[in-house]
Each structure stands twice: as C-alpha cells, then as structure tokens.
C-alpha cells in the first residue's frame, strides 16, 4: 500500500528545473526521511504533493487523490508543516491551537497535546515570545491536530537544539497511529538514519530510495555514503585560509569575557559569564534555544550593552570603544543579513567600504576575495537568488574582507546541507590554524567536535567548559549529543 505515487514528475520555475522526471512511491504507515542538498527540490516536492504547487507534467497521487484537481478532498486528510511554519506571533499558544483546530474543523481538545509538548505552562504566552525550539513544537502540534493520515514536515528541526529535536521526534512517533505515513525532510543525517526509509534527492531526481541501514550501519557511515551519493566531498586545502594574512602583533588572549551579565528586571539572560579565548582557538558556545547564547554574542560585539562586566576583543574594551573593538571582528549573523537586491560584487564592495578599506585598495581586495571564495561565476548575480550554501559563503566572505583576527559565527550552518557544512568547516579549521580566533555557536553536535573548547550554556550560565573530550568524560557519554543532554539534565536536577 502506497500513500504517495509519483510518476515522471517535472516542475520548473522559469529556467530552473526543480523536479526532473522524478518517480517515487512512499509506503503507508512508515516514516520516510527526505534528504538532499540545498536546492535539490525537497520543498518543491513536498509542496507539489500537498497541491500547493502544480507540476508541469507527470502523474501524482496522494492518499488516492490527485493534488492538482482534488486539493479540497486531500487537504483535510494531511498535516503539512512548512519550513517557515505559520504561527501567528501575536496570538497566544492556546489561540494558535484554537485557530488551527477551527480551520481543520476538529474539536478543541488540547490537554494531551499541551502536556506532551510541555507547552501547558506557556499556553497564554504569545507565540512570538517563545524560544525557537518551543515555536517548532507548537507548529508541529498545530500540524498534528485532527490526526492527519499523512504528515509532511519540511525541516522541522532546523535551528533547534538537540533536546528539543529529540522532543519533536518523540512527539511525532507517539502522537501518530501505525497507519499514519510521515514524510520528513531533514538536514540532520542522524535523524534520517533513524527512520524506516530514506529518500535522497539531488538536482530534482531520486538517487536513493531504501532503508537507511542498507547504506550504513551507523549514522556516521550513513552520512559518508549519502555524501558519496551526492557527488562526494573532496577535502582540499582551504584557499580562503591560504590567502589570509594575519596581523603580526597578536596577543594570546584575543577574546575575553569578564563577568559578562545581562539582566532584564529580575531575569538574568546572561549571568557571570567569563572566559578567555586563545589566539587560533575555535571556541564553541553550545546550549538549548533561549539559553542566552545570542545575547552573549550581541554583548561581545557591542550590539547590546551588558548590565555588568565587559568583554575585550584584542584587549580593547567593548563597552569603552565599541567601534575600535569591532574593527578587529568579522561577524556572521544567524540569518542571512546581506543586501538581497545587490549583486555579490556590490555586497562585497559595500562591506569593504563599511569596514574602512581604502578606496584605492578596494577594487583589488574585492576581486581577490571573489576569486578565493569561488564566487567568480556569481559575481553579477543578485545575492537573494543564490542557493543557501553560496549565500553562506558570501556572508563569510563579507565577514572576512577586512582580515579580522577574530571571527564570530552565530549558527553559521543552520539549514545548510551536509556537503556545504563540511566545506565550511574545512575553511574554519584552516583559518584557525593560521591564527584566527573563532567563536561559534551551533546546534549540530558533530560540528561541536571541531571545536578546541566548548562552553555549555544553560539558563544564562556556563554549566560546563572544556574540550569536547573533557565534556564527554564528565558526562560519561560516548557522543557529544549524549553529553549535551546529560549535562543539561544534570544541571536541571541540581
């Protein structure tokens, strides 16, 4: 029995082919993982199955209905969670649930749902005031209302910490019945490894459809195999690092947080945060959503004023001379924060001038960085039209254009596919070897392994600090993810 049957499906947007003669069956009652690089066609496939997009050609049936002509019959039976799930941020948790229950014509019986998602204490809070992980849980809860026969989830775990990620998985597994089919698109290959079926798509075609365990016994093997399927990743010496010239005069303690504190009324977003990052060190800031990582980041960049304590970048006090401290800093924000309507070259030119590179050197510098970052073919393209991986690379290019000795990266790899992530970390580790100090936050626990030292952050405080191995030893855990969860739980128990 198949929930979805697709034959020779093609969908184009202008000149780009999103789905290319794709054929696929999805078995009923199974959880199927959908994996693929950015722009491989995952979202287009999900939208076409739900009838939100109309294919150019080919046949498609979902739960026995044709989404093109029978969308009205199909939609009441499915639950679809788009990537940017539509929570009404100005409505409360409960009001969002009531609204979606009414739209789906189901009863207002949320007790089990609220209890399960642990959202019950927050039901009167505005959805906009929830942390990232809780928002995703609420979005999933709204999607699960009315027990849909077929669940389509578009990267529900992007930007979510490991604990909330586990919760999301548990919610789906326990709230559905054995007949429910789930199609789950994800960038986390360990997640996909735990599903019944894995579908790998690349350039709009299916390149693998089968049991994840047939590809690899462990999640790591599975990941390597998937990378091979997607064309493989060859680690080459990072050109970015090769062309990087670091300032000579560099002290040992390049980034220093000294009793950093941010208080809102009685609530401490960040409390007594102190650490010193050495030159050439990769320092990871880990912690659940809403733990205070971003607040710490903003204070260290001088974007938010600490209520107590201070931070020093290259010895310059960020509260006393934020401009000068910042000139030593390259910052890559969590969200794509470049000018979408400017071309790649124009963005770089702008940042070059914003960071104070002299006019006569500017053109040469921009040209150099375009070549080093492999952006030559895209130089005249608008940056909003780039695929996510390239956007990420451009953001990094903009952050590095003034040769800063310190680099701050706030969740640089959220929503980025596995190959792009590996490439990205290759550059990061090579830059660190050259002596660049790197402060990074991430929700990918495999990335945490690249860090020299990690600070685990929870409720605004550092609960553990050390090398990845030290943290694993402390938690008596095998993987970083396990130790993350154990250490957080332990601190809760105290």
């Amino acid at each position: 029995m198949n929930t979805v049957e697709i034959k020779n499906l093609t969908k184009t947007f202008g000149k780009t082919t999103a789905l290319d003669n794709l054929s696929l069956n999805i078995e009923k009652g199974k959880i199927t993982g959908l994996i693929g690089a950015d722009g491989a066609g995952k979202t287009t496939l999900l939208r076409t199955i739900t009838g939100l997009l109309i294919p150019d050609s080919g046949e498609i049936s979902a739960l026995g209905f044709n989404p093109v002509t029978q969308k009205d019959e199909l939609t009441p039976l499915i639950g679809y969670m788009p990537q940017k799930f539509g929570l009404y941020e100005d409505l409360t948790v409960l009001e969002n649930l009531i609204l979606y229950a009414d739209l789906k014509n189901v009863t207002h019986n949320f007790e089990k749902m609220l209890e399960f998602t642990k959202l019950a204490p927050f039901q009167d809070r505005l959805a906009g005031a929830l942390s990232g992980g809780m928002k995703q849980k609420l979005g999933l809860a709204c999607t699960l209302l009315g027990n849909p026969e077929f669940l389509l989830l578009d990267e529900p775990s992007v930007g979510v910490d490991p604990i909330s990620r586990k919760d999301l998985m548990k919610m789906v597994r326990e709230m559905i019945n054995p007949q429910t089919t789930v199609l789950w698109s994800t960038a986390y290959l360990d997640e996909a490894h735990s599903f019944d079926t894995a579908i790998v798509i690349d350039k709009g075609r299916v390149i693998y459809n089968g049991k994840p365990h047939d590809l690899g016994e462990t999640a790591q093997e599975f990941e390597n195999k998937v990378i091979d399927l997607m064309g493989g990743y060859k680690q080459e010496p990072s050109k970015i690092a090769e062309n990087y010239t670091l300032l000579k005069d560099i002290r040992d303690c390049t980034v220093e947080a000294d009793n950093l504190e941010k208080r809102y009324g009685n609530f401490y977003a960040v409390k007594n945060n102190s650490f010193c990052i050495q030159k050439g060190e990769i320092f990871g800031l880990l912690g659940p959503n809403g733990a205070g990582k971003s607040t710490s980041f903003k204070m260290m960049c001088g974007l938010a004023k600490p209520t107590n304590g201070t931070a020093r970048i290259m010895g310059i006090d960020i509260t006393k001379d934020p401009e000068k401290a910042r000139s030593n800093l390259g910052y890559m924000a969590q969200k794509f924060s470049l000018y979408g309507s400017l071309t790649v070259r124009e963005n770089l030119e702008f940042f070059a001038s914003a960071y104070g590179i002299k006019f006569k050197n500017r053109a040469a510098k921009v040209q150099e960085i375009i070549e080093v970052f492999g952006l030559k073919d895209y130089a005249q393209q608008k940056s909003e039209e780039l695929p996510l991986g390239l956007k990420q690379r451009l953001s990094m290019a903009c952050a590095l254009i003034h040769n800063p000795p310190v680099l701050f990266l706030d969740e640089p790899t959220s929503g980025v596919d596995v190959i792009t992530r590996r490439d990205f970390w290759n550059h990061i580790t090579s830059l660190a070897k050259k002596g660049v100090t790197i402060l990074v936050t991430t929700h990918f626990m495999d990335e945490a392994e690249y860090c020299d030292r990690i600070s685990l952050f929870y409720h605004g405080e550092t609960i553990a600090l050390g090398t990845p191995q030290e943290l694993k030893d402390k938690a008596k855990a095998k993987t970083m993810e396990e130790s993350f969860i154990t250490l957080i739980k332990e601190s809760e128990g105290e």
Binding site: T75, P76, P82, K84, G86, E89, L99, D102, L103, G139
Partner: protein, 386 residues
Amino acid sequence: MKILLALIKKEIKQILRDPSSIIIAFVLPFISIMIYMYGINLDSVRVTMGIKNDDPTPEVATLVKSFGHSKYVNSIYFDNMKDIETAIVRSKIKGAVIIPNDFSTKLAKGQNADLLVITDGSEVNTANYVQSYALAIGNSWLATSKYSHSANPPAINTEIRTWYNPDLNSHYFIVPGSIAITMTLIGILLTSLVVAREWERGTMEAMLSTSVKTIHIVLGKYIPYFILGMLSLTFNIFLCIVIFQIPFRGNYLVLLLVSGLFLFTSLGIGLNISSVLKNQFLASMVAMSVGFMPALMLSGLMFPINSMPVFFQHLTRILPPRYYVSFIESEFMAGTVPEIVIANAIYLTILGLILFAAVYKNTLTRLEKENTKHLKKKAAERRVNG
C-alpha cells in the same frame, strides 16, 4: 461558517494587539481633522502689500488711506521702487500698488486712469488675492470720490448670496471631506499590509494546507476591517459634528450607509494590492500612491474636478473618493439630496463589487496561480482515462 468565524476572531485579536492599526483608525483621523480644521484655510486671507504714490494730491491721498482701512489688506507705504523690489524678494510684502503721477489728471479729464499692480507670481493664489483686492479697493474708492460722476456708473449692482455655506467657511466642506481621506487610509493602507503579512510570515502557506476556502480568506479579511472602518467612521463623524461643530444637515442613516459602501471599495483596493504584491513594504508604497494621493488630489476636495485637465477628469471617474466626497459634502451642507445620494451610491456599489470580484480572483489557494488551461487539459485527460 466555523472556519470564517475563526478567521474573523483571529483577525480581530490581531487588530486589537497591534497598536499601529488602532493608531491608524483612531489617532490619525483626529490628527488629520485637526490639520484640516486649523491648518488649512481656503478662505480669503489678509495680505500685506506695498503702496507707492507718485501723485501727491489730496484726493489720491484718500485712495492710499482706503488701502489702509481695508480689513483684507495690510498696507505699507514705500517711497521708491527699489525698496518695493527688495521687500517682495524678501517676501515682506506679497505685492504692491503704484499710483502713477498722472492718475488724478487723467481722472479729472474723464479718461481711463491706470493703477500699476505688482504681484508675486511665485505664489499664484496670493497673487490673485492681491490683484482682486487692489481692483476692488480702487473701484470702491472711485465710486465715492469726486471723479465718480466722470466714470461710467456700473449698469448692474451685484449682490452676492452664498447658499449652503453663507459664511463661506471652507472648513464646513473640508473637514467632512477629510473623512474621505481617513476612510481611504483605513481601507487601503491597513488592508494592503494584512494579506502580504500572511505571505511574508508563512502563515498563508500553513493556512492553505487546511480546509480553508478562498471565500473564507476573502471574507475573513473584509469583515474585520469593515467593522474597524465603521467604528473609525463613527468616531470621525463624532469629532466633526460634536467636537468641531461642523453643521450637519443630512441624515445619519444615509451617511453611514453610503460611507459603508465607500469603505467597501477602499477595502477592495487595499486587499487587491496586498494579494497581488505579497510584500508589505511594496504594498504600503503602492497603497499610498494609488490610495492616498488620489483621495487628496483627485477627489474634488482640494481642487475642483471641473478645472482639471480632461484626462484627469476622466480618471477621477474610476476612483471611489470622487463619489464619496461629492456625497459627503452635499450631505453635510445641503442635506440629503436623493439624486446625489442614489447616483453616488450606485457608482460606489458597482466599483465595490468589481473590486470584490478581483480580490476573490487574486486570492490564491495554492502558492502559484492556477493555469486554467492546464487544469482543463488535465480534466480532459482524466475523462479519457477514466
């Protein structure tokens, strides 16, 4: 029905929690009425003008004096042309009257005598005032002077009687007319944002994958903003009539009814902009230029439609503010005139229905426009296969 109610409830909660919609609906009208009440005045104004007399006879001196006595003119006496020039350049005076040295001689001979009136053409309206004041003062002086017998007495004496607005107080029509502008703002600006917001925040995509139908989405936007608009209208009328004491001679029920029709057309324009553009910034820009500006410029409120170039006269016909301004001015000042009410109401209803149909058509139930040809082909294929 349950779905529609849920959507309306949601929208109302959003309106109540969003201070900007409350500001647009209640604070903005207050500010705008204040501006129209105290800031704008289309009535005759007092102007300052210079006088230079080259004809030093006692008779002409009385003419100079009558300029000083006029309640519309502040006169300043000048001795030479140069000072007048400087004063005009510095905008100290808005114009000048120069009495030539042969003025009394010519009048005494029964000839036509000339007065030189200089006006500042950079302010056309004021220039017109200067010109007509100078002429009027000159003529009335002539009628009472000793030269009156030699001038041809005017055959007809005009006596002006202004109906409906005997005080010629322009506030009596501008302030009610400003309601049209406020209603346009609420109808177009506010609603131009709301559909685009749902697209930007991803709530539209989530909503489209539930059992929601096009009619639910459309009415779910029309109804809450209609309610908000009517509340704002009531507040506006209250301000006009009770607070600012603008005389109202019409019928309240008729006023509400036709205003409701006008609001219906405005909502239609706003929702069309929003559904098509799907981007809040762009939508608000377009709303300002197709909503607010025409309401101000092309409604006949500020500038009479008859004096516009022919092209714009025709353009005003497809814009709802024209009909509403014409209605509300007559409703306030002349009372309910069935011909005006019915004609304008019919135009507004037709425009409103056309716009509603367009909103319905532009509201997508998918992420892309359905290609009807494509659908028909599909259906035909299915018939062949089935």
